[in-house]
Every structure is written in C-alpha cells, then in structure tokens.
Symmetry: C2
Subunit: 723 residues, 2 copies
C-alpha cells in the first residue's frame, strides 16, 4: 500500500496522550493545536478522560470515526500490543517515537523484529521507531513538536533529528524557502528510504528532496528509485559515517579495498543525486536546486567588484570542474561600453569601481552576460547589497532596482544568478528582494560557489547520456546451460569456490579471452600438454583446498623444455603436500605464458547495502600501495565501463608510456561487461577476482581467475536471497 | 629603517587633499576626524587654502612640524615628484593609493621602478602602490576610509582590499574580535610581506596575524621571518591563485612538475603557518588562534546532544587527522553519574536528552572531560544556546550559568572549548557570554571543526621538533676546491651544464654513491675499461651538445663482451653524429650496470618565489603518470628528508612489497641531504636531475645525473643574484 493516506492523514490518534508539558504525548497535541491542524485529533490514554480540551479515549478501538495515522508516544515494550489494536481499528500507518529497539543491541533488535511482524500482520506501515517523527507542512500535520517550521517546496528526509532541526532552523533564519514534508526515518524498520523517495517523487508540491543519511537498509532499491526521481526533481544528499567505514577484513582484493563510502558516493552520483560533503552546503544546495534553473552547459561567468573574491571564486569553481570561459566579443564590447576603462571584461568580469556610484550597473552587466549564448549562469561576488550601507543611503534604491531587474532577467533567460554578498548579515532590502525572485544570496563565498556548481552538475546530468544505468539486475537472464552446469557441479561437490579451470571456462563461455589451461594429473601428461602448447608454460597447482596458490609455492612461471616441466610438476605437487597434507591435489594446470603487457585486476563482490559491485584497477603496486582503483555498482553499461577505466589516476598508462603501444581498451571494456553479465547470470557467484589480466595492443589474457560462490541455499539476489 | 615611526605615525600629511566627498583626499581626512585620530593632520593641495576646517598646505615643505607619514592620494604619474618633496621634508613613510603601476604592464612597471628609486634616494619606505591603505586601530590612524572597524588583537595583512573588507565586516558582525592593524600590501613595490610580518611580530598588542596572499615577491625571506614569528604568535594564511599555477614549460622532471601552490603550502606549513583553504574558515581560524590555548597533544573530545552532529564532526576531524580518543575510565564513570542511562559516555559523548531539563549539565560534562589528562580540548556541537529559545525561557538562565562556568574552566585548565550552535543566529545571551570568555561560537559545524583542528595543528607545531628548518641558506659554506674547479671549468668553456661525469664527480665529492663512469675516447679504450669493470656495462654518449642522450640513441645498456662493447661504441658515436652533425662528441662513457632495485628520482630547481627547492619521487610511471612526488624548500634537515619520502603515496614500496627486501632509506635520506648541500655550496647550480637513482637493500646507485648551471654572472643567491 502507498503512504498517501497516512502521510496526508486527516485524523490522528495520539497514543500515550499526556497532561504533562514535558511529555511528547502532550506536546504533540499542543503542537497540532498551535499549528492549526484541521484534521481530527484523538488522544488515547486509558487513564485520562480529557486532554487539552479533547475527549481522551481508553483505546483506539473506542474512537468512532476513521483514524489515518497513529502517533505512538509510549515506551518500546508496549508497542506490539498497541499495533495489534491499531490493526483492528484499520489504521494504515503509525509513527513510533520510542528508542530502545535495534539501535541498542540484540534485545532491542528482537523487539524491533516483533514490532515489524505485528505491523505486517496488521497491515500497518511504520515510520521509525527511534524517530523524531513526521511533519506534513501542507496540512499542518505536525507530529514532531517543532513549531513554526517554514513551508515551502523541499521534502526533508533524515536519519538524525538534530540534523533535521539544523536544516529547518537554517531554512527559517537564512532563506525564504521551506518544506513540504519532513520524515525522520529512524531505524528504517518498515518503510525504507526508497519508499519515502517514491512518495516525494509523486508529490506535486515537492520540488527538491533533501536527505541526510548515515546508512541504508536497501541501497539497491534506493538507487533504482533515485534514478527515476532525479529525472524529475533533484535529490540533495549528505552521507556521513565516512570515517568508520572501509574497515572490512581482507578477502579478495576487492574485499580488501572496497570502502562503502566511495562506492556509495559514486553510485549516488550515477543515479543523478547531488552528493554534498560539507554540512554547511546542504541546505543552500537544496534551496538553489529547488528554485533555480539548472545550467545546461557547465559554463558560468563571475561578476565581481574586486579582485580577491573573483580569484578565490575562480579557484573554487575550477576545483569543482565548472568552466569559466572567455566571453564572446560582442559581450565584451557591450560591457566595455558601460564599464570604466580600468574594468576587466574578461571572465571573471571586474567592474573596478564602475558600480560605486550606481550599483544598478550590476543588473546591466548581468543582462549583457546572460545574453551570451555560451554562458549558462552568473555568479556575482562582493559587496552588492552593501553599497547603500557602506557608501550612501540613496544607493540602496539603486540596488533594489537592480534586484528587480535581475529577478525578471532570470525568469526571461531561464539561466540562474547566484549572489555572494558580504552584507547578507545586515539583511538589506535588496537582498531580500533577490530571494523573493528566487535568486539565492549567501554571505559565504564557498557556499555561493558550491551552489552554482551544483546547478551545473545537475544540469549536466539531466542533459547527459544516462539511459542504461537504472540499477536493475536481470537475474539469470543471460545464464548458459554449460555455465549452470559448472556451478552446480561445484555445489554438488560441496565447494564454495570454482577451480581455476572452471572459473576460466565460465569466463570463456561468455566470451572472455582467457589463457588456455589444461589439467595434467601426471608429469607425463604435463610434458605432453607443454609440447602441444609449443612455447614456455606456466604450471599451477590444482586443488580445491589451496586457494592462494603462490603462498603454497604452487606456481612456476616461464617453464621451458621437457625436463623442466617434469621437474616442475613434481616440485609443485610435493610443495602442495607439504603446505597442506590433507589437500585434495588433482594435479597441475599447464598454460601458455602470456605475452608481456600491462597488468590489471578486476573484482566483483556483494556490497551489504548495494548488492553486486565491481572493482577495476591497474595491477601490482598500483592496487596494493596506491589503491588506485574504481568501483561501480553493477550492472554497468559500456559507457560506465569506460569511465571506470578513465577515472583511475593511472589510466594514461593504458595509452602507452615511453614508447610502448597503447593497450586494447575495447577488449578491457568488453571484459568488464562480461564480468557484469556473469554476476547477473549466475547469482550463486559471491566474489570474482581476475588477477592478473594482461592487456596487449590487441586483445588481452585473463591469466588467473578466482570465483567464490555463496554458501549453498544463498545467492546474490537481495530480494529473494535464496537459491 | 624600521616601520615603527610611520606605522604608529603621530602626524599625517594628506597629499591630494580635496573638498569633494567622493574623493579619497576628502574621505581620508573625514575618516581621521570621525575616528578621532589624535595626531596632527596636514592636508596638502596647492589649489586649496582650507579643507574640513584644517589649514591646507601648498606642499609638504610648507608644513612646520614633523610629518611621520604621507598619504598620497594623487594620480600615479605625480608620485615620483611628490616623493622627492617628502624626502626633503624627511617623511619616513608613504602610502601610495593610486593604481596604474606594475599591475598594468610595461609602462606601469617602468613608473613603479621610478617610484621605488625615488623612495630609496629619498629614504622613504612605501606602502603600496595600488593599495586600499593602512589602518592603525590602536591610535585611530585610519588611512583606509573604512569606518568602525573593530579593535582587537589580530593584525591583518592582505593583497586584496575586498578581502580585507570581507574579513573586517565578518569580525564586526560575527565575533567579539578585532584588529590592531590592517595593511593592504598592494604591489609590494618597496615594503615586502616579511617586513610587515616582522613589525607585527614585534608589536606586543598583536596576538595573531591574518593574511590573504595572491603572490609574493620574496618568499624566502617571508619563510625565514614566518619561522621566527610562529614560535611567538600564530600566522593564519589563505593563498589564492591555485588554478592558474603549475603550468610551466617542462625542463627537467622537476621543472615539469613543480606547482607553486604545492610548494608554497608545504613551505608555509613547515614555517608553522596555519594554511587555510576555504575563505569561510579564514577569520574564524584567526579568531580562535588569537584567543584560545593551543592543543598540545592533538586529542580532543566531542560533546553532543544528538547523533547527527557528532557523526559529521567525527568525519571532519578524522579528515583533519585530529584524534578523538577513548576517554579514561574515571572520566567515563563520572560522566555516567550525571548523565541518563541512554547517554553515550564514549567519545563522542552524547548526552541523549540529559540536558533537556538543565543545559548547565554541559558545563559539568566539559569540566569532567577536560580533567581527563589525555584530552586536549572539547568541541561542543548541537543546540546549546537554543534551549531557552526552543524549550522554556527559564533554561536560558541555566545556559548562561553554564557559559560562565565554561569560561572559567578554559582559563583554569588552559585547554580550549569550541562551540557549534544551531542557534547562533538568534544571538542568545549565553553565546555572547561564551565569546566574552574567549570561547568561539560558530553556527557552521564545518567551521567549528576546522577551528578546533587548527588549535591542534598549531599546538603540535609548537611542541614538535622544528629547530633546523629556519630556511636560511649558507651559500658556499660547504663548497670544496675540487667542486669549484669542476664548475669553473665548465663556465670557462662557456657551458651552462656539466657533462655527466663531471656531475657525478661533484656528487661523489660530497659523498654520494654514484656509478663509476669513465670516458673512453676510442673503441679500444672502451673495451679496456669494460674489461676492468668485469661485468656488463652501460655505454652513454659524452657530448656537451647532447643533453637528452636517449633521444639521440646514445645509450646502450647491459653490454657484454669485447665485440659488443666495440660495436656499441661505434653505434653510439655514429648515431650522435646523425642526431646533431655539429655536436662536440668527446667519446663514450663506460659504467658498470647497476644491480636491480627500486628507481627513484631527485631534482632541484630555483623557484621564482622561494629560491632553491628539491623534489623527490619514485621513478617511472609514478612520477610521469601519477605525479606522486614531494617538494621541499631547501635546505632540508634529516627529519624533513625523511618526511619527504614518507609523504609520497608510494612510500610503502621502499619497505618492500611482495617479498622484496626493504630499500636502504638511510642512504636515500643522505643523498637528499647531499643534494641540499650541493645547491647551497655551489650557487652556480640552477637545476639538478638525478634520474634514475637505484635503491638497494644496502646502499644505492646514482645512475645518471644532470646538472644545469646559471648563465655566467648569475647565481641562486637571491639576495645577491650575481656571481
């Protein structure tokens, strides 16, 4: 069922109603009254007859009319029984304020499970528990106890009551903007982030969605929903908890390196979300994105009344990869006409005192600049708003005139203006006017730069190519019978990993170019195989019990000639015996030595929050020491495979260095896509590790491949989880 | 002469005095009057008799009493003549407001040179030109025209009038702090950054120095002065212009990679300067450092009334490398006594509602935490200051009580408290009280975190080892006669580079382990030399006209046997002839092949602003592609050589990877010190390029070395510049 009925509830039961001013069961009713909620209010408390002028009910079952939502303000332990009654009453949704659930440990987790079961049985959707509540500002349905939150067009979705309070306070004090809804997701026990997101996507009054996230229960579904949402309205998100992540025990290379935060940031951005790193920039970014036109071409102009601010702004915007292009000749000529000789009409434009007598010149400059077809938006930095304060009061009127003009200009050109003003704190009327016209004003130069850059970022996303990355996995769709056979054989034998030649066969089956391996069970067989190959060979131990072959001394490279092959076979087998006396040693794998080339590694694993992800990096020290790797949530498109490669710092090596020829990047991209396909095709795969893959000027060789399977009965399909 | 007399001038001549309100020659007098300057004011203008009630003089020569400073408000072209008169009058200092000098191009540069000459001849020191002026707030000597700048203990030194205005406005509106002096350095034509710095260092009223810099004329002297200053008082500096730097034409590897901004940041920090990247953090950092005790041990505690802020703060502080250690058992026990059961008494401490009824509990918590000997300071984040606003007015009194207590606590423990408050904008009295007690309060969580981190950074600098990095170069001190001989030979021959064997001899002379090269002028000689060496050799062309030997096909590696050596000699010589028919080819250098090892490169060059600098990096792709290099301003100490190595991302490779033994880091450190010594000993050296240096488990080999000399007559000693 959807969330509409209770998110827009026309009747509320306050369970745990109270007469004590310090109790949420009192405050909730008081707030609904003060904020003029027009729906029905039903206090519930078996011990009271009346609260704040309302009749108080013994139980929700005693209420005559329908109840759309229950606010449960009683202690954790009482919640399951209350939900049962709510179910009988047919209440579709409940907010559970109490803490003491999953966040406190095993016992709390058990209680939370019980609550969720009770909710499911009784067809109730839950907000929380452990939440500050929910706020619908459109109907004054205020279940938070925070008064006078500003109304507006931003939906607020957070995992911290304090951050919500921060953001709402900031909106109230510093902007003209406000909110449609606020939801504190709490422990996300029932309703998940993606479900709220869908609700906000469908809400016509919501123009932008502002999120603070610490962790997510169903990241994959969130990405899918976000992908749909950001095509229609922006999502602005801050994810905290960076410092405690990335500390997982090493398994394969992928496992050792995958930091949640890096994966998450990349995935969010691929879904079109604007990810914010500094909490100062969170609300301003939402304010800007909810009210300004996005910039289509990533190109802006800076308009300044002094050098310092322009220089700093240029630095910051360059860091954000926003272009500050040369202005057109016509534009420069027109600016020269109205500005003094000392002015700079390149970009950044510096009026050099030209506005001292008449700050309305800012509007004229902005008009000329926004007419330039190559300029997507203007950032004005400096003193605007303070000319009247600093120089002469009459200049205030000219500033106000400029504000009116700029407001209309933005609407006409559909290009944004963002303003930085030293004098914002003094609240001059001109700046209030700008806000009225949806021109954001910031006293922080850093924040103003960030805001124009997010307009460029979101605009580029909207106008860029992103059709294929919708984060939906097609399980088993491209599986092949022979592939299923390989995996089921391993499972039948009770193994949770494929033997090297099995892994390679699976890869080859899907088109990967792997070195041809043959299993020799005797030294004679090894000699024959080596002869057939006709060039130096690699010998590797074949045993399901020895995963790390090098550690066991089970790898010999570049072996030439009958004698050496024979000796090699025996050495490897005897070393294997010594390394693990009980190992099931099936022989030695013989394969041709790959030609020299650039080594890369590819890995896949199952991320707790996002499901299947893939890692790529240059082999050797680049991965081990520099950790120059890139991650993507699977599946990937050809474009994102290419970007994965390009975003590593070492990418230029593939183009050839010191006279070496460029590597076959197409083959590498195809291999990444094959890995993506394999993970989707066989959800039994838990981890893959292709290390090394050797790239050549034409083609590549997967020299070693390791594939780990889920325990029998489990699989990667998070929605089912069993197979 | 020092700057004291005119920086603290007791009499001012306003040259270019005016009756027009829009002219600086009017505003200056008006401001001095309004701000109640108590010294003498002498307007000067040949066309006026009186200005603003003062007698107006035709020329400074007509003034009876002494004049300490001249404010020159006339156009650029008039300045040289005016300075002559000022000199006759014996005025020791002048502020030149006008633009139109070096910043405008060649003609302006010529005029600026003329002005500087006039000043030198007439014994006048100059502030500017192209400056907004100078402000001494202690004596109300206001030569800027900016009224009501707040007085305090911070000296402000900037290269942008707008940034000064920003910072002064921010101080006025958002803090209780203010300034001793402001100087706009303008074009730095005469008085340089380091001279102002020395003046502020000696000013007893200045507790911190706040700087905004775009570029510096004498970076080396600034570093030397900063090094002395930061032992006594903090310097807080923002350097802009990042985005336009690092674009120099490639010369040696060093030349190609040195970005001014990277070098500058590292050098500033080694001099103890707190370098700020975001303009939002610039004034707050100065405010904090001017009024709070530095943190000695880099360990702080976070005290929060909600999870979100604490999580974000932990992330940010971890990024800044500030430790958030576990609290002591006693501390935790005491916190448990006063906080509710749900509270978290680990670090971050979360009061979990414990302060809802009584926010004075914050002071109790802070007292307990600061008593912990392991905790150097406390960051309080969340709602403090807003309890009275949000919950009940009576709570304001408890917040004020807490503010008084915390103020005294900081003084008693000499450990800082920094506060983040959502409610700062509402200006509650409790927060004003905190400021009165020198406890900074910020509404930005990011800024609050930055501020406590700079206290940790500066405290660590003060208490760390830094005795030897005072940036003073001892030219020629360690030169050796044989070394001078090598260089003078090259110069006598009209060369600006040493031959490879000369460069190696110079290095060897100072103790570097270089591969032994011998010059063979004939193939027979080459064969004899190779025999003597007794193992495979490298052959390299020897010609002063061929610097890039590989490009000329002039290098053969791993040559074995008489026949091969003979053929190699001939091949190399004939290739050299083909490459450059007019080249002076002196033969072929024969050297033993170095054993395998880890390749690194070392380079030195002369930076425009800082003089000699050194670069270190791992060889090959690490330098070429990843640009994983580190820079230091020379000379370096053993400690900074070690840090140079450790700060590269690839440093772990030197400790051995995949079973290779660790490299001899001591030998590498010694080699860096030898390079440092060489640059000091022989100021004729312009660039050095040791590439590759091969590191072994014991010792190393400098395999190739290139040394470029300055043109004859020039040298690296910036103060003299000729040799």
């Amino acid at each position: 069922m959807g969330l509409e009925t209770f998110m827009n509830a026309r009747s509320v039961a306050i369970i745990g109603a109270s007469k004590s001013e310090t109790k949420r069961g009192y405050q909730a009713i008081r707030t609904l009254l003060d904020e003029r909620y027009e729906g029905e209010i039903y206090p519930v408390n078996p011990k009271l007859d009346r609260v704040l002028g309302f009749k108080c009910y013994k139980s929700v079952l005693d209420i005559d009319g329908p109840v759309d939502i229950a606010l449960i303000a009683t202690p954790a332990a009482t919640v399951p029984a209350i939900l049962k009654e709510c179910g009988q009453k047919g209440i579709p949704g409940a907010v559970i304020l109490a803490g003491g659930f999953g966040e406190t440990g095993t016992n709390g987790r058990r209680l939370e499970d019980e609550v969720v079961r009770a909710a499911r049985t009784n067809h109730i959707r839950l907000i929380g528990p452990n939440t500050s509540g929910m706020l619908n500002l459109k109907s004054n349905l205020n279940l938070v106890g925070l008064k006078e939150a500003p109304k507006g067009e931003i939906a607020l979705l957070t995992q911290s009551g304090n951050m919500a309070l921060s953001l709402i306070t900031e909106a109230k004090i510093k902007s003209h903007k406000g909110f449609t809804y606020y939801v504190g997701v709490g422990n996300e026990a029932d309703i998940r982030f993606h479900e709220y997101l869908e609700f906000f996507r469908n809400d016509p009054d919501t123009k932008a969605i502002l999120m603070y996230v610490e962790g997510m229960r169903e990241g994959r579904k969130f990405l899918q929903q976000a992908y749909k949402t950001t095509k229609e309205k922006p999502i602005i998100l801050l994810k905290s908890g960076r410092s405690s992540t990335g500390k997982r025990s090493a398994g394969s290379h992928t496992g050792a390196l995958a930091g949640m935060s890096e994966v998450a940031k990349g995935a969010f951005e691929r879904a079109g979300i604007v990810v914010i790193e500094n909490s100062d920039e969170l609300f301003p970014a939402a304010e800007t994105l909810s009210s300004c036109p996005p910039i289509r071409n990533n190109k802006i102009a800076i308009l300044a009344d002094g050098g310092g601010h322009a220089t700093i702004a240029s630095d910051i915007l360059t860091d954000y990869k926003v272009e500050i292009p040369e202005l057109g000749e016509k534009t420069k000529a027109r600016l020269r006409e109205i500005l003094p000789a000392a002015a700079s009409v390149t970009n950044p434009v510096d009026v050099a005192g030209g506005t001292d007598d008449d700050p309305s010149l800012f509007a004229d400059c902005a008009r000329i600049i926004l007419k330039d077809p190559n300029i997507g938006g203007v950032l004005i930095v400096g003193l605007f708003g303070g000319y009247g304060i600093r120089f002469a009061k009459t200049l205030s009127l000219k500033e106000e005139d400029a504000a009116h003009q700029m407001g209309k200009l933005v609407a006409k050109r559909n290009k944004p203006i963002i303003l930085h003003s030293l004098y914002n704190f003094e609240r001059p009327h001109a700046l209030e006017l700008l806000r009225y016209y949806n021109i954001p004003v910031y006293d922080s130069l850093d924040v103003a730069c960030k805001c124009i850059s997010v307009l460029a970022q979101y605009g580029s996303y909207l106008h860029g190519y992103h059709a294929k990355t919708n984060f939906v996995l097609n399980w088993r769709n491209k599986a092949k019978p022979e592939g299923n056979e390989i995996i089921s054989t391993a499972r039948k034998q009770g193994r949770t990993s494929l033997l090297e030649h099995e892994a390679k066969n699976l890869l080859r089956l899907h088109g990967a170019s792997v070195t041809m391996d043959k299993l020799a069970s005797t030294a004679d067989e090894a000699v024959t195989l080596a002869k057939d190959i006709g060039r130096p060979v690699a010998l590797k131990i074949a045993s399901p019990d020895i995963l790390h072959k090098s550690d066991a001394g089970g790898v010999l490279l570049n072996v030439k000639g009958e004698k050496a092959v024979r000796k090699g076979f025996e050495t490897i087998v005897s070393r294997g015996r010594k390394y693990r006396p009980d190992a099931d040693i099936r022989g030695v794998v013989v394969s041709p030595m790959a030609a020299e080339g650039v080594e890369v590694i590819i890995g896949t694993k199952i991320d707790d929050q996002f499901g299947p992800i893939i890692m790529y990096g240059l082999g050797g020290i680049m991965v081990e020491i520099i950790k120059d790797v890139s991650f993507r949530v699977l599946p990937i498109s050809r474009l994102s495979a290419r970007k994965m490669i390009e975003t590593t710092r070492s990418a230029p090596i593939l183009d050839g260095v010191r006279g070496t020829p460029p590597c076959d990047k197409k083959a590498l991209i195809s291999l990444l896509l094959i890995c993506s396909e394999l993970v989707e095709a066989y959800p039994e795969i838990k981890e893959m590790d292709l290390n090394p893959v050797i790239l050549h000027p034409e083609g590549l060789d997967v020299v070693d491949a390791r594939i780990i399977l889920h325990e029998k009965g489990n699989c990667s399909d998070l929605t089912n989880g069993k197979c």
